[in-house]
């Protein structure tokens, strides 16, 4: 095998006296979907925050296609093709839903001040993006709220818009922090299936944090990493994980 797409090694991060990440290592290969699980407060979200540059790390290494990205700025990391969602959905609240989806696409001409006079070009670009945004909303079954303010949405709807937003950014790597928490069962299933399809058609590689074992242990997740107290304590396929005694003790229960 070639180098993994994303390689995280020996990540450490503490908040004051609290060591949130002690030693986190994992690898994500191209077109893989991997799961990150573990009890509350074990450091899953912190891992995402460090990888995406929101928090600086104390030490360790994160390599994206062989390039060290640890402690790069969030926007630089995003431009390399890594997009993430936040556990607590943070939409741009006083923007409409459709507008929330129009920001993530990269390399927009109109996003530079010098180009604001190029009306024709901007209108053309916008038309393409608007269509794509509507399609994404249809996919997530929320196109009827496209023109509402994001602040008017229910919790589950917000989660869906968040997923739509991250899909609009054309990522190669997707970090999803509990993407379907609060989304109704059947739709959550569909979204999980859809992510599988997208991985094939777009060549996406995905890391998912998820507490719902039904989703995580289903086929389609290539590997699962189990975290506890800031460390990765196990790695394997869903069947392997489900039968490891120390995983059962730390997370899966009885």
């Amino acid at each position: 095998m070639t180098d993994p797409l994303l390689k995280v090694e020996g990540l450490r991060k503490s908040f004051g006296g609290l060591q949130a990440l002690k030693n986190v290592s994992f690898a994500l290969n191209s077109k893989e979907v991997i799961g990150l699980i573990g009890p509350n407060g074990c450091g899953k979200s912190t891992t995402f925050n460090v990888i995406s540059g929101i928090y600086p790390a104390d030490s360790g290494s994160v390599k994206l296609k062989g390039e060290e990205i640890l402690n790069k700025k969030p926007h630089e990391i995003n431009r390399l093709g890594l997009s993430r969602t936040f556990q607590y959905t943070q939409l741009w609240r006083n923007l409409t839903v459709i507008e929330n989806l129009l920001v993530p696409p990269k390399n927009q001409t109109g996003a530079q001040f010098v180009n604001i006079l190029r009306r024709l070009k901007l209108a053309k670009e916008e038309e393409i993006l608007v269509e794509k945004a509507y399609r994404t909303l249809e996919l997530l079954e929320i196109s009827h709220v496209a023109e509402n303010y994001a602040s008017e949405l229910s919790g589950g709807q917000s989660k869906l818009v968040d997923i739509g937003r991250v899909l609009m950014s054309d990522p190669t790597i997707l970090l999803l922090d509990e993407p379907v928490a609060g989304v109704a069962g059947p739709l959550a299933q569909k979204i999980f299936d859809q992510l599988q399809k997208l991985r094939k058609s777009l060549g996406l590689s995905i890391v998912i944090i998820e507490h719902n074992m039904e989703f995580i242990l289903r086929k389609g997740i290539d590997r699962i990493y189990v975290m506890n107290l800031g460390e990765v304590i196990a790695e394997g396929t869903s069947d392997e994980i489900a039968s490891m005694p120390h995983v059962i003790e730390a997370y899966l229960g009885g």
Partner: protein, 485 residues
């Protein structure tokens, strides 16, 4: 042409209907007041009720009227004032009403009237320009700037120095002010933008005051004639001469009329530029920074760069305002850098509707007019009409006798003339209080401003074939926004 007539006719119908509905709502309100009157009398709480009545009489019908009007408007234009079509018309009508007000302002003679118009319209334009600078920084991007007067003052300083000390052409001086203020705004990003947003706000407050104190201490930077009592130079030496003379001889109008027209033109241009920004993806990124900048950066936008740019763009607009101020006042003294100016600009910004350039114009009109009204409360002793004479003597009693007793010598600050029985009362001492009250009143009625920020709704909605959504998205995604098929 017929389209215009149709639009006007339909607006007129709407107007009549709002009137009807408003009266209806008012009647309802009065009926309710009647019943509550009876009920309240049974309970013994007469005193508190008596206190409530005047407020009820004053405000309840008014707000009922406005509510009824709004309901009808919303039925006609979904989203009401947040509908672009309705908002642009409302804006035009408000401008027309303003023109009417200014036109009908009584004045002793045409010359006085012209100079009143020159002054008021210029101030409205100036405040609109400043409010639009603030709107880009605070309304759009969320950078709370309490230092409007710092930027404006800096622009004014540059203009005055370039003209007086540098002997430059006023147009070059204006350009220089715009560029240098923009640069100052950009550079300011470096020490301040890593601060938390509330600290950034505090820094901006301090800057204005620091500049003023520095200038007060350093006479080199003052263009007033040293040693003279008069702080106003009659005209900035030489530079305006030729242009002003030819303006006068060609148009037969005073020079301040030119300034007024020019300021209105500049304000118009700033509205256009603001709209261009707000409606572009660039402005959209700015709005996301206001809403949640961490997420914005997680989506690949360099938040620092955008904020610094906005400080520069806003700075350029403030610099322009500063230059206009110097052109108008024909002098530059540190006393021009009033903190209250920042306060008034904020007032216009809040009343107008943050995030909306047209709103800034409306806000500027309301604030300027309030200031103007406060400055010249009409004189008392206006005639023998019994009603007016009674009002006048009550007014005089309150202001001269009571006010004099309370404020002592200070009462002369707002009672400026007391000969031949005429009292001219200028409430300048209460200016901030009154403008503040106006702001509160408007905030209560129009939470998001008179002309609120418009939500983005795409003009053209795509036709999606619903049956094959799930397969369509993959195709669209693979071809990266390509064709439907």
């Amino acid at each position: 042409m017929s389209a215009i007539i149709n639009t006007l006719a339909s607006d007129f119908r709407l107007f009549i209907e709002t009137q009807k509905a408003g009266f209806h709502a008012m009647a309802e309100a009065y009926k309710q007041m009647g019943t509550s009157l009876k009920e309240k009398k049974q309970s013994s709480n007469v005193v508190s009720f008596a206190l409530q009545v005047p407020f009820f009489v004053l405000f309840s019908p008014l707000s009922a009227y406005l509510k009824a009007g709004e309901k009808i408007v919303i039925e006609t234009y979904p989203l009401g004032r947040k509908n672009d079509a309705f908002q642009s018309r409302l804006f035009l009508y408000l401008l027309m009403v303003t023109a009417l007000f200014i036109g009908l302002q009584p004045s002793p003679n045409p010359t006085a009237k012209l100079s009143f118009i020159n002054e008021v319209v210029f101030l409205i334009a100036l405040f609109a320009i400043m409010a639009m600078g603030l709107n880009l920084q605070t309304g759009l991007t969320g950078l709370v700037n309490f230092g409007v007067i710092f930027f404006v003052g800096f622009g004014a300083l540059v203009t005055a120095m370039a003209m007086v000390k540098g002997g430059m052409d006023p147009w070059i001086a204006l350009l220089l002010a715009v560029i240098l203020t923009a640069i100052v705004g950009y550079l300011l990003a470096y020490p301040t933008l890593n601060l938390r947003s509330d600290y950034f706000a505090i820094v901006t407050v301090v800057l204005g005051e620091v500049l003023r104190q520095l200038l007060l201490a350093e006479p080199t930077f003052q263009t007033k004639v040293s040693g003279s009592q008069n702080t106003y130079i009659p005209e900035l030496p030489g530079v305006f001469g030729p242009f002003r003379d030819s303006w006068r001889s060609v148009t037969g109008l005073p020079y301040s009329t030119f300034l007024m027209i020019f300021a209105v033109f500049v304000a118009f241009m700033v509205v256009v530029i603001s709209q261009l920004i707000i409606r572009s993806p660039y402005g959209r990124v700015l709005k996301t920074i206001r809403e949640n900048e961490v997420v914005t950066s997680a989506y690949g936008y360099d938040v620092f760069k955008y904020k610094a740019e906005v400080l520069a763009i806003g700075g350029a607009i403030f610099g322009l305002a500063g230059a206009l101020l110097v052109w108008k006042r024909q002098t530059f003294v540190p006393e021009l850098l009033l903190v209250t100016t920042t306060f008034f600009v904020w007032g216009a910004f809040i009343i107008g509707g943050k995030g909306n350039p047209r709103g800034m114009v409306i806000g500027a009109i309301i604030i300027t007019y309030t200031q103007q009204v406060v400055r010249n409360i009409s004189p008392t002793n206006r005639g023998s009409n019994f009603f007016i004479a009674t009002l006048d003597s009550i007014f005089k009693f309150l202001v001269v006798d009571i006010g004099g007793a309370i404020f002592g010598e200070d009462s002369w600050r707002f009672v400026s003339e007391f000969q031949t029985g005429n009292v001219i009362i200028g409430l300048e001492a209460f200016q901030i209080l009154i403008v503040g009250l106006v702001i509160i009143l408007f905030m209560r009625r129009f939470e998001e401003g008179v002309l609120p920020e418009l939500p983005y709704i795409p003009k053209k909605k795509p036709n999606l074939d619903k049956s094959s959504i799930w397969s369509n998205i993959e195709q669209t995604e693979t071809s990266h926004g390509g064709t439907k098929e």
